[in-house]
């Protein structure tokens, strides 16, 4: 079986699992599952630029947080917000900012790009932390969960289970989008631009434009995840944009592997489950996380999903 087949298989398995969750679990576990699903979406979005586009962004949490803040600022104080409208506005606002950030940053390569994304991430953090917009250091609250308003139908997402189902629907759509993009001509061009820039230029394509589009799409998805997170907790704070969160998202991409769609999602699930279990075991659970990261970077930098491909050798190899 090829890596693509494994990838598709894992995505299907995850989708089935997502469907079953509300029937197996309730209460605290569903809220945990919601958090994990949102983080998986963020990781998949980040994996799209780190993998095919070869852009290592250590500022993606800023897009996550920016959309959350946009939602907080759009949400009315005394009644639930219109989910579809505010989600669209938050994501679009984030995409516009991502276009500006990307346009500036993607002109740099390698280390300089990383430092640019770090700088923009910090810029975003300090914008919300220092200037007093959106409650400054304390953050701000959203007192009502947004509701879905369709013509003739109002769907409230106040319960943990319906909210989870909505979140998994959105994340599923986002992941499907990334999967389709990776397998499309656009995805191939991105990979080609990453591996051999000159040749792609010779064909008349602009690597800069390709990467910029990928960056904006990825940031928009990250923003959607931030919106969902704000809707889940009813709270936004500058910490959402902190570089630690960007680095953690990168860790999720690392654990699962950046060359498949499902990899980062698997990485997110594994990392957050490990966190949850370690937290119950010891007060010093961060040691466990730190060790996991160090070990994986050294021993398995390609991530877990590519290893799975080895257990299912291709037909060709078997008949070698």
């Amino acid at each position: 079986m090829s890596k693509d087949h494994i990838d598709a298989g894992l995505l299907v398995a995850l989708a089935v699992l997502a469907l079953l969750v509300p029937y197996i679990w309730s209460g605290y576990e569903i809220k945990l599952a919601t958090t994990i699903t949102i983080q998986a979406g963020l990781a998949v979005a980040l994996g799209f630029v780190v993998g095919p586009a070869g852009l290592i962004s250590i500022g993606h949490a800023a897009f996550f947080g920016l959309a959350a803040y946009l939602f907080a600022m759009l949400a009315p104080a005394s009644e639930p917000a219109n989910l579809l409208n505010t989600l669209l506005l938050a994501v679009c606002g984030t995409a516009v900012c991502a276009a500006v950030v990307g346009a500036i940053s993607i002109r740099s390569r390698g280390l300089y790009f990383i430092l640019m994304t770090l700088a923009f991430g910090q810029l975003g953090y300090h914008f919300f932390h220092d200037t007093g917009i959106g409650g400054s250091a304390d953050g701000t609250y959203i007192y009502f969960r947004p509701e879905v308003r369709l013509p003739g139908l109002d769907i409230s997402l106040d319960g943990a289970a319906p909210f989870y189902q909505f979140v998994s629907l959105v994340v599923f759509a986002a992941v499907a989008l990334v999967w389709w993009l990776r397998r499309s001509a656009f995805g191939s061009l991105l990979v080609a631009a990453r591996d051999n820039e000159m040749r792609i230029r010779a064909f008349g394509y602009s690597p800069y434009a390709l990467r910029l589009v990928a960056f904006v799409i990825s940031a928009a998805i990250a923003g959607a995840m931030g919106y969902l997170s704000a809707a889940q907790h009813g709270f936004v704070a500058p910490e959402m944009l902190a570089w630690h969160n960007s680095a953690t998202a990168l860790v999720m991409v690392l654990i699962g592997g950046k060359d498949t769609t499902s990899g980062p999602a698997i990485g997110a699930i594994l990392l957050l489950l490990a966190e949850e279990l370690l937290q119950r075991a010891t007060e010093h659970w961060l040691v466990g996380i730190g060790l996991i990261i160090v070990v994986i970077v050294i021993a398995a930098p390609q991530g877990i999903v590519p290893y799975l491909a080895r257990f299912f050798p291709t037909r060709r190899a078997q008949h070698a």
């Binding site: 780190v50 290592i56 250590i58 500036i104 002109r107 740099s108 390698g110 280390l111 300089y112 990383i114 430092l115 640019m116 770090l118 700088a119 923009f120 910090q122 810029l123 300090h126 914008f127 932390h129 220092d130 200037t131 007093g132 570089w243 680095a247 990168l250 860790v251 690392l254 010093h284 961060l286 040691v287 996380i289 730190g290 060790l291 996991i292 990261i293 160090v294 970077v297 050294i298 930098p301």
Partner: protein, 290 residues
């Protein structure tokens, strides 16, 4: 603003900047000469501060912490290079970012296990425990002036080593063109070991020196880390002179920014960083890039 207080804020800026330079110089060595991004650099600064705290608590002397810091820094740096960084030889920046991030978590948590979660202060060491009156109402702590002195001495020493010694020549050559330097006989393994050890040592030493005027608390390395990156971007990656200029600039932005635009001081720092990356990525001084 009166001239007198302008001078005082300038002094604040220089003192802040010199401590930052001590940390950033280590980062410059690692990034400029070895091309390694080390996010854990701030964590080693914290190690220095806690080392000072432990030495003061158990050995009742602050000054002992200084040589201990240098030794501990060299040892930790050598271990870091030999066991972790060497395995990443040839790997991309993503691996370095993630490895050093994992290290931050490990070092921070190790600190909590050993020292607990409280914030601590360290008394300014005895011979310097006074303030120099600058006017009838205002005095300046002698220890902060001492820190400035140490910083200046460090700048001079580092400058001499890099400019006038064989080792310095090899380091500068490797920063310019690693492959060529190796072809000319520079022993890569030994040099990497030495550079990492020296770089980490700078951070640990900075932590010790800053400890009496900073607070000693968990996670204190984070802010210093990010500011160090700003410093080397402003000054030019791989340039020690640039790091000095960048650090002093940041010190000025901190001291004067908090006076004239307190809400935007930090924000402006990152605007400046981005501006430099756009317009002159090699930094205000000519850096080597990596």
């Amino acid at each position: 603003m009166s001239a007198f207080f302008f001078f005082v804020q300038l002094l604040n800026a220089v003192q802040f900047g010199l401590v930052l330079y001590l940390v950033a110089s280590g980062l410059t060595l690692l990034l400029g000469i070895m091309g390694v991004i080390n996010l854990a650099h701030g964590a080693f600064y914290m190690v220095g501060a806690y080392l000072a705290f432990a030495v003061v608590q158990h050995l009742a002397s602050f000054w002992l912490a200084l040589p201990l810091a240098i030794v501990l820094g060299l040892v930790l740096g050598a271990l870091l290079e030999h066991f972790l960084l060497a395995r990443l030889e040839g790997a991309d920046h993503l691996s370095q970012v993630l490895l050093s991030f994992g290290l931050i978590l490990l070092i921070n948590e190790a600190q909590r296990i050993i020292f607990g979660n409280d914030a601590h202060g360290i008394e300014v060491p005895a011979p310097l425990n006074f303030s120099i009156p600058l006017s009838e109402t205002f005095a300046y702590p002698a220890y902060r002036l001492f820190v400035c002195g140490v910083g200046i001495a460090f700048v001079i020493a580092l400058g001499l080593v890099m400019g006038r010694t064989r080792i310095g020549m090899m380091l500068r050559a490797s920063a310019e063109n690693r492959t060529m330097a190796r072809a000319l006989g520079v022993d890569a393994k030994l040099m990497y070991l030495g550079v990492t050890a020296a770089g980490i040592s700078c951070a640990v030493l900075a932590g010790v020196i800053a400890a009496p005027i900073a607070s000693v608390y968990p996670g204190m390395g984070d802010q210093v880390l990010i500011l160090s990156f700003v410093v080397i971007v402003l000054g030019g990656i791989g340039s020690l002179n640039g790091a000095l200029v960048g650090a002093l600039l940041l010190g000025a932005v901190d001291a004067f920014g908090k006076q004239f635009f307190p809400d935007f001081a930090a924000f402006l720092v990152y605007v400046a960083m981005i501006a430099v990356l756009i317009v002159r990525p090699q930094g205000l001084f000519r850096g080597t890039g990596a």
